[in-house]
């Protein structure tokens, strides 16, 4: 199978802190990968390396089989290569209207760099109606993000990722702080990604949600890849057991550290 992203011995340290130990990982085509791990396990760090927001301390990254020059790699390039990310919270700018936020960082411009406001407004309105299904009165393309609810914000970010034709959509804890009905919308969207033949990395705390929609499950623990297997090969109860053990081990270790 052709992989979209492949990491070879990729690691990341922030100063003396080794946030991600050398990791080997492949994300295939049309695959939903669920990524689980405690807070601070290194999930977001892994994502930032894939999207070019941070560069790895060591290792190689291949995208669609092509080796990436890590000195040149950036968010722009990963977007051009078809990787879209919806971050935990850092996706939208509060004071800007939706028609700007939809095209953040890549507005539709002419040769002079002038933005085609009319076109952007039209596309934004379309996405809001069709892809996201915004029905809420009082929300239009001119609405500032600061007036949107958490779910609506996530909807905008996801709608944007959908609009820019991408092969891999990464969702970093998109359901944090969402009402249950809104969480279901997000899950439906992830299914949509699968149906459209694209891939997705889905970071989520709720193990049931992850198990339900993923093809493959990855578990990170203190910067280390401790599980990487097809969903069929692990029962949800075993998965929960594993996570409990990891959590327990962690507690013991920190206690040992404190000399307890």
């Amino acid at each position: 199978m052709n992989s979209i992203v492949e990491l070879k011995n990729v690691s990341k340290s922030y100063g003396p802190v080794l946030s991600l130990k050398p990791i080997n990982l492949k994300i295939g085509g049309n695959e939903i990968v669920g990524l689980i791990g405690d807070n601070g396990a290194g999930k977001s760090t892994l994502i930032k390396l894939i999207t070019g927001l941070e560069s790895p301390t060591l290792g190689e990254i291949f995208i669609k089989g092509k080796r990436i020059d890590l000195n040149q790699y950036s968010v722009k390039i990963s977007q051009q290569l078809g990787i879209e990310t919806v971050y935990q919270k850092l996706s939208l700018c509060e004071k800007q209207p939706l028609w700007r936020n939809f095209f953040a960082g890549r507005p539709i411009t002419n040769a002079f760099g002038l933005i085609n406001v009319k076109k952007q407004r039209k596309i934004t309105a379309e996405i809001m109606k069709s892809t996201i299904g915004f029905r809420s009165e009082g929300i239009n393309v001119d609405t500032q993000v600061s007036f949107l609810s958490g779910g609506e914000r996530q909807g905008v970010a996801i709608g944007r990722a959908m609009y820019f034709e991408s092969d891999l959509i990464i969702l970093d804890e998109p359901t944090v702080a969402l009402a249950i009905s809104e969480v279901e919308k997000v899950l439906r969207f992830v299914n949509n990604i699968k149906n459209k033949g694209k891939s997705c990395i889905f970071i989520e705390h709720n193990i049931h949600h992850v198990h339900e929609i993923s093809d493959r499950i990855i578990v990170l623990d203190r910067g280390e890849l401790v599980l990487n297997c097809q969903k069929q090969s692990i029962e949800i109860n075993d998965l929960i057991q594993l996570l409990k053990e990891l959590h327990f081990r962690k507690k013991n270790k920190t206690n040992l550290h404190k000399g307890i």
């Binding site: 939208l92 509060e94 960082g105």
Partner: protein, 332 residues
């Protein structure tokens, strides 16, 4: 109602007109005569052109206090090259290149050393100011012979013997800056950076590069303002730009540009520079002593920034929160 007041220039425009009306009552001899307005059109362009640059800087959530020294440097270079080498247009170009260089270096210092721009540009205000004094030997220059030369007529001449053409240049630059902020990709990047630079970075905006471009542009606009000032006054002295330091910054925020970054009002800045200039002239013409000027500008400054913050986000005003807790202003 709140929507209309939030449109670029509306609130300040109303304040400006009200101020003119008041002065027409308190100083009718001066303010009912068109001459005072011609004098505004002659003196407003230099601080206005500088303030346009500072508006963009503020949009990005940054500050540039170094412009008085940039004004001095470009004024000196222009006056020196004119007096010693009879250069006019070329002197203009070189003066602006010097401003661009200063701005570029400022941008490097801020982005590469990571010093907050408020502090960095305060240091650079001293540094460049000292630099000008060193290269000039602290002298003043008078260039009366530039009067009625082609460059003088073209940039600061009097149309039909009375209308200062520099106001047209200033308006043209204002339109360009308005387009840059509201319709151009560069301006949008500044809006995103000022709103939340982490998000801007996530969305693939090269924050460092855009900031360097921003400070370079601010340097260019300051030097254009400096050359206009030297042309209008046909002289250079080192503290020339210093008088603009506080009024320009006051004008940017009176105009409605957010003190928190992420939103900017170019038309607001235009009116606000007029307001600051008019207050000065109006108080004096009304028989009030000159030192009241600063007091009133300060008053307008606080009122304007409070109103702007109130329009932007009432929740950010502690006094409003206090009254809300007591059950007042719930609809604000």
């Amino acid at each position: 109602m709140k929507k209309i007041l939030n449109i670029d220039g509306v609130t300040v425009g109303i304040v400006f007109l009200a101020l003119i009306l008041v002065f027409m009552l308190t100083a009718p001899r001066v303010f009912l005569n068109f001459r005072i307005y011609m004098s505004f059109f002659a003196t407003v362009p230099p601080p206005l052109i500088i303030a346009l640059g500072i508006t963009l800087v503020a949009v990005a959530g940054e500050m540039d206090l170094s412009f008085p020294s940039t004004v001095a440097l470009s004024s000196y270079i222009f006056a020196y090259l004119f007096e010693n080498f009879q250069l006019s247009w070329l002197a203009f170009v070189i003066a602006i290149l010097a401003g661009a260089t200063v701005g570029f270096v400022n941008g490097l210092v801020i982005t590469m050393l990571g010093i907050p721009s408020l502090i960095a540009t305060l240091a650079l205000l001293f540094l460049w100011g000292g630099f000008v004094t060193i290269i000039s030997g602290g002298i003043q220059l008078a260039i009366p012979t530039i009067y009625e030369t082609p460059i003088h007529n073209f940039l600061v001449g009097r149309f039909e013997q009375f209308f200062p053409v520099q106001i047209l240049w200033a308006i043209l630059i204002s339109i360009v800056i308005w387009l840059l902020l509201n319709r151009h990709k560069f301006g949008e990047n500044l809006l995103f950076i000022g709103d939340n630079s982490e998000v801007a970075k996530m969305m693939g905006i090269n924050v460092i590069l855009e900031k360097i471009k921003l400070f370079t542009l601010s340097g260019i606009l300051s030097s254009v303002g400096g050359v206009f000032l030297t042309l209008e006054t046909t002289s250079y002295f080192s503290s020339q730009g210093m008088g603009y330091l506080l009024t320009v910054i006051a004008a940017v925020f009176i105009g409605g540009t957010s003190i928190f970054g992420g939103s900017g009002r170019v038309i607001g800045t235009v009116f606000a520079v007029f307001i600051v200039t008019v207050i000065e002239a109006g108080l004096v013409a009304s028989g009030i002593q000159g030192f009241w000027t600063r007091f009133f500008i300060g008053l307008v400054f606080i009122l304007a920034v409070s109103i702007n913050t109130l329009l932007e986000n009432p929740g950010k005003v502690p006094l409003v929160r206090f009254f809300r807790a007591k059950g007042f202003f719930q609809t604000l």
